[in-house]
Each structure stands twice: as C-alpha cells, then as structure tokens.
Amino acid sequence: MIPRHLYFAISVLSLAVLVMGVYAWHMRGRAAANPVAATDTRPVVPPVAGPTEQVTLFVAYDDIGVLRPQAARIPLPSVRQERAEELLRALLAIYLDKSSPHQLPQGSDVRSVYLVDPGLAVIDVNAAFADGHRSGVLSEELTIASLIQTLSANLPGIVKVKILVEGKERQTLAGHADLSNFFDAAAVSQLAAQLQSNQ
C-alpha cells in the first residue's frame, strides 16, 4: 500500500513537470520566432573619435590578386590592444564597402585582438567573417596576409599571430588557408612582399 503523502507528492511533482513543459514549449516558440543573433550585423563597438594618425593598411585586390599598401588617417586610441582592433576595423571597413576590391561577407567583424607578450597577437574574428569567406588558396591568403601585415606594419614587436573564429581554433579559413598553426610575422611579411607583385 502506497502511503497517502507519497500520492500527494507525486501528484504535485507531476503537475510541476507539466507546467514546466508548457512553459519551455512556449519559450522555445518565442526563441524560434526571433532569430536575432545570427544575422545581427551591427558593429559591436562604437567607432573611436579623436585625433587621427597616419597608418598603412595592406589592402587585397582580387582582380589582379595582389596586396597593396595604402596610407590612411584613422582615429586611434592610446591603448595598444585597442589600436590593433581599430586598425583591423579600418581595414574591414574597406572590404565591407560595396566597391571593395576584396569583398568580405556582410557582418564580418573583428571581435577582439589580444596582444600577449612577448610578441604574440591573437586576432579573433566573428563567424560571419569565416563562414561566408570566398574559398580559394589565393583569396584566403590575401585576407590573412592583409590582416597580419597591417597589424605588424603598424604595431612593432609582433612576432607571431594566431587567428581564431568566435574564440575557437578553426582548421581553415574557408577550406584552404590553415588557421590551426601560428603565423610567423616575418614569413607573412615576405609573403606580403610576394603578393605585391602579380608576377
């Protein structure tokens, strides 16, 4: 014979499970009807204002497959890490323009740049950057060389660079360029020199 208080406890618990199930079902429906995060292309950080500085951006050109240095004046904060992020955002602004010579997918952004002594820079890009990137050895290495060379040309002391996607290691950018290893800044500098000629 099952005691009466046990019947009561089971009934209350069953009712609680039912109510929670209905609530979870309701919340699930609401979440499905509001898919915001994946398609939100708004910039995460407001643009920096203030005095501008002259920098050199290394801009990729798909039509002739080259990387060209391009002088620009952009407002830069004093903190080194924030400077790195602004440099890359200035570069991305060129690529996200409709007349860009090297189109990156809409919504591409640099989430953060971490500068770790001695000489390590970690670039964390968002998923849109990698997921929608054009596939191809040259296309992908133009992007990588552009990011790394822009950083190391304007922030002395960078020796190695690691690229993460959404804070995680990824095998390749879009099926070709290896992201699993650290990039040697000197080797990328030589690559950037190679890429400045289309011969």
């Binding site: 497959g65 050895v137 070709h176 360029a177």
Partner: protein, 511 residues
C-alpha cells in the same frame, strides 16, 4: 600459422549490415536450451542434439549461394544472385532497398518500382524497360517471380545510374558492385630497413580475415570495397617476401602474399595499416605503429617526430599527387554545377598519366570521392617515401596557374636532434620544393600559361618531409568551364609533368 582477428571481424559484420544466416542458426541452437525439468532432461538433451546435428547437416549440405557484394556510401551489403536461363539475375528491390525509399507495384506482367521518386517500369519477358521516362535496354529478359522483379546482373552497370543518378561499377566476374566512388585503395611496400616486413596501407579502415598456408598469406576482404592496384601482381625487392597478388572472386577481394618465412599480420589502431612480419621480430600483440617520422602527432603538444631517413632507392612511388578536398568537402563551388573536388580528382588522374608517360611512378592519394583529412594526406605522402608531393587545387578567380610552397619561417627552429616539428616538417625540404616549383613554372611559361609562384599557409604542405608543392589551377579567362575541359587539364598536366621530369635527378633517384 593462422592469425584471424575475430574481435575485429565481429564488429565489422555488425557495421556493414552483412547477414549470412549464421545468426539464425545460433538462435535455433539457443532455442533448444530452454528451462529444464528433471524428468524431461535426458529427452530434451537428445532432441536438442538431434536438432543441432540436423541443422549442421542442412547448412553443410546446402550449395554455397552466389552473392553480389554491394559497396556504397549508404551501406555495404550483399544480395543473392539467381541463375535463370543460363544468366545471372538479381532482385532489383533487394538491391535498391538499402539505398533509399523503395516501393513496388506488381500485377500479372507489369512491375513498377519507385526509388526516391524515380519510376522504373518493367514488363515480364521484355528486354527493355523505362526508367524516369527513358527507354533502357536490358541484356536479357526481365523476370517476374511471385511479385519479385529480377534483372540480368550484367545490366546493372547501365540500369542503376538511371535510378541513382551516379556511376555504378560492376565487377561481373567477381560479383562486386561499387556505387559511386567508394573504392578503398592500397599500397604495399617492403620496409627499407627490414626486408622481411611488408606494410600494406589502405585509404580507409579494413578488416580482412587472414589465413596462411606454407609459403603464402591470404587476406580476404569480404566487406570492404578494396580495389586492385595498378598491377594485380606486386613484386618486392625482398627474398623473404618476393611478391603479392591481388585477386577478386565470389564477392570478395583477396591479397595473397608469397613468402619464404612465417609471417604474422598485425593491424594499426586506425585499421588502415596491416603489417606482415616474422613473429619473433614483430609479435602479434605488438600492433603496428606507423613510423613516427611520417605520422601526425597524437596531440598538438607532442609536436615532434623522428626524421625520416628512408633511402631513395626504397621508393615505390616517385611522385604523390593529391587531389584536394573530396567527400563532404567540396572545395570551392567553381560554378553552379562544378565543384573543386571534381576538378582536382580529374586533373590528378591526368597528371598521373602524364608523369607515368615520362617514367615517373605516381601514386594518386585520392582517386575517388573519399574524404581524407589533411593529416591522413600527409601521413600517406610521407609513408610512401616519394621524392615529390603535389597537391592540386582549382579556383574560379584569376587566370592560369598559381604554384605554392609552404609558408614557413626562416630556418630558426631549435635543434631537436633526430626529431622535427610536425608543423614545420617541410623545413629541410624547402630548397627542393622551391626548385621543383621553379621547374614547373618554367614549363608552364613555355606554354604561355600565366604563372605565379608564392608561398601559402596551406596544409599539408608544411607536414611533408620531401619536396612539396601545390598547384591552384584557375581558368584561362573569366569563363570557368575550361577547368573541366580535358584539353585545358591535359595542357597543364603535361607541363607540370615535364617540370617534375626535368628536375627528377635533383629530387632523387627514380625507382
């Protein structure tokens, strides 16, 4: 000596959905061992014994049924082959059922089969059928037996692609059917430092039964789509293991190794390598481990490996050609219908032909739609001890051909003695790689093909311990269709092969 890995075989049988009736026999045997009562015990034992004896006699007396082994990405299975009117027939429903959604409607003489919304219309006694509205000729009459539609075995090669929308390759003599690019390829090499040790490497895990007789070791692949190497007879420069022969029969592939010494087979943990070696030097319990020099580290932390010191004369292949991407990895979508993975494999086959025309033995790493990891590609290339590795890519942007070597820092790596980093294993071969790239570029320029030579962070170039280059073939103009054109591919392949042939002496002595 008999060495059969029973544990692996049982696992494989489950995985491959093979049924041979033995399971039912065991169940029958189990059924007679029911709960026992004391009075009936002796009679039940006698009855059980008689039933078991009868079952064994029935099984042993039955003629061995001829079966068709089917290999596909969906499932590996077998179906019975029926002899009718002096021809081999198979039931179409049994054949298509494991591959997709199938339904059948049959009346007195008409038999219609729906396979994934594709309609096949057959008529008993007729040699033609309609599949998806198109007439198809059969090599013999369609047979209808108790609602079961039978088609001639030999017609499957032409009939199945209509249903499946892809190639189906029939090995009629051996009763093996390959649906799509599922073949498992293998290489066999005698270890350069131990001529009594034969290493067989497969592009996918295998699980053969191994049996031996004096002078021979037989490996039978009943469940795996193992296919023939370039030559069915492989000869080795070893007195202990002079040769191996590949053959196919009765739905299975078999590799028979001729030997003058007792050999024991052992399997690598990933099931892709089988090593035959004398028992004293290679105990069976010591599963083969691939040479550390040529295999990737288990974890990123263990990034060092002994330097590969295999002499050039031990090479079976001078060149390894790697068709990049494959399987789920389609590479770049070059057009709405053209995937990079398809262009690279077609180009790899042409390049192999051009290289072999120049006397350069060549291994194509991916000769099917298999999905090989980057580590696997490096592993196979390194263990082949080839003189040069060539990775093939295709792209829709730009024109001509782009040649790449690994993007590595200048040689400042710390001295690790006989070990080197997996991530920078290519370092010491960079001069050879650059020389090979320059030679290939020269040949392409002679054909007025636009060429660029670059370095690239492109795996597995940096993991290869010999000369390694990558090609990215772009169309000659804005239209990408020439990438799939035999003429364009042939032109590029010919120049690349000439470039490699020109530098053959520098890369190492040809086998």
């Amino acid at each position: 000596m008999r060495s059969i890995r029973r544990d692996r075989i049982s696992r494989s049988s489950t995985r491959n959905n093979y049924g041979n009736g033995l399971g039912k026999g065991t169940a029958s045997g189990g059924a007679v061992r029911g709960p026992e009562t004391s009075g009936l015990q002796p009679m039940r034992h006698v009855a059980a014994g008689m039933l078991l004896l009868f079952a064994v006699m029935l099984v042993s007396a039955a003629p061995s049924e001829k079966r068709l082994s089917v290999y596909s990405t969906a499932a590996n299975y077998s179906v019975p082959i029926a002899q009718r009117q002096g021809r081999d027939y198979v039931g179409l429903l049994e054949l298509l059922d494991p591959l997709g959604k199938v339904s059948v409607k049959a009346d007195a003489s008409r038999w219609r089969i729906h396979y994934n919304n594709i309609l096949g219309d057959f008529t008993a006694g007729k040699t033609h059928a309609r599949v998806q509205g198109l007439d198809t000729e059969l090599s013999g009459k369609f047979l209808l037996e108790n609602g079961r539609g039978l088609v001639p075995l030999i017609s499957l090669g032409s009939l199945l692609p209509r249903f499946l929308g892809g190639p189906a390759t029939l090995h009629e003599e051996s009763g093996r059917l390959f649906i799509g690019s599922v073949a498992t390829h293998f290489t066999a090499t005698v270890s350069p430092d131990d001529p009594s040790r034969l290493v067989l490497q497969f592009t996918a895990p295998v699980n053969p039964s191994v049996a031996s007789e004096p002078g021979k070791v037989h490996m039978t692949f009943s469940h795996e789509p193992v296919t023939a190497p370039a030559s069915s007879t492989l000869t080795f420069d070893s007195k202990a293991i002079p040769s191996a022969v590949y053959s196919e029969q009765n739905g299975a592939a078999e590799i028979t190794v001729t030997t003058t010494i007792p050999l024991l087979a052992s399997f690598s943990p990933d099931g892709r390598t089988i090593t035959l070696a004398p028992p004293k030097t290679q105990p069976a319990t010591n599963a083969t481990s691939t040479p550390a020099a040529t295999s990737p580290p288990a974890t990123p932390a263990a990034q060092s490996a002994p330097v590969n010191t295999a002499p050039a004369v031990a090479r079976r292949y001078f060149a390894v050609v790697d068709a990049s991407h494959g399987g789920n990895d389609r590479g770049e979508a070059l057009s709405a219908t053209l995937a990079e993975k398809d262009v690279t494999v077609a180009f790899a086959r042409r390049l192999r032909q051009e290289l072999e025309n120049r006397g350069i033995s060549t291994l194509v790493l991916r000769d099917s739609d298999a999905n090989l990891s980057l580590d696997d590609r490096a592993y196979f290339a390194n263990t082949a001890h080839a003189a040069i590795y060539v990775a093939l890519h295709a792209a829709s942007n730009g024109h001509g051909v782009r040649l790449y070597t690994a993007l590595l820092p200048d040689s400042s790596e710390e001295d690790r003695g006989p070990f080197r980093s997996w991530a920078t294993a290519q370092q010491s071969s960079m001069p050879l790689s650059r020389a090979a790239m320059a030679s290939v570029a020269d040949e392409l320029r002679k054909l007025q093909v636009p060429v660029r030579t670059l370095s690239a962070p492109l795996r597995p170039l940096n993991n290869i311990v010999t000369a390694a280059i990558a090609l990215e073939v772009a169309p000659p103009a804005s239209d990408v269709s020439p990438l799939a054109s035999p003429d364009y591919q042939q032109r590029i392949a010919s120049a690349v092969a000439s470039g490699i042939a020109d530098i053959r002496g520098q890369l190492g002595a040809a086998p």
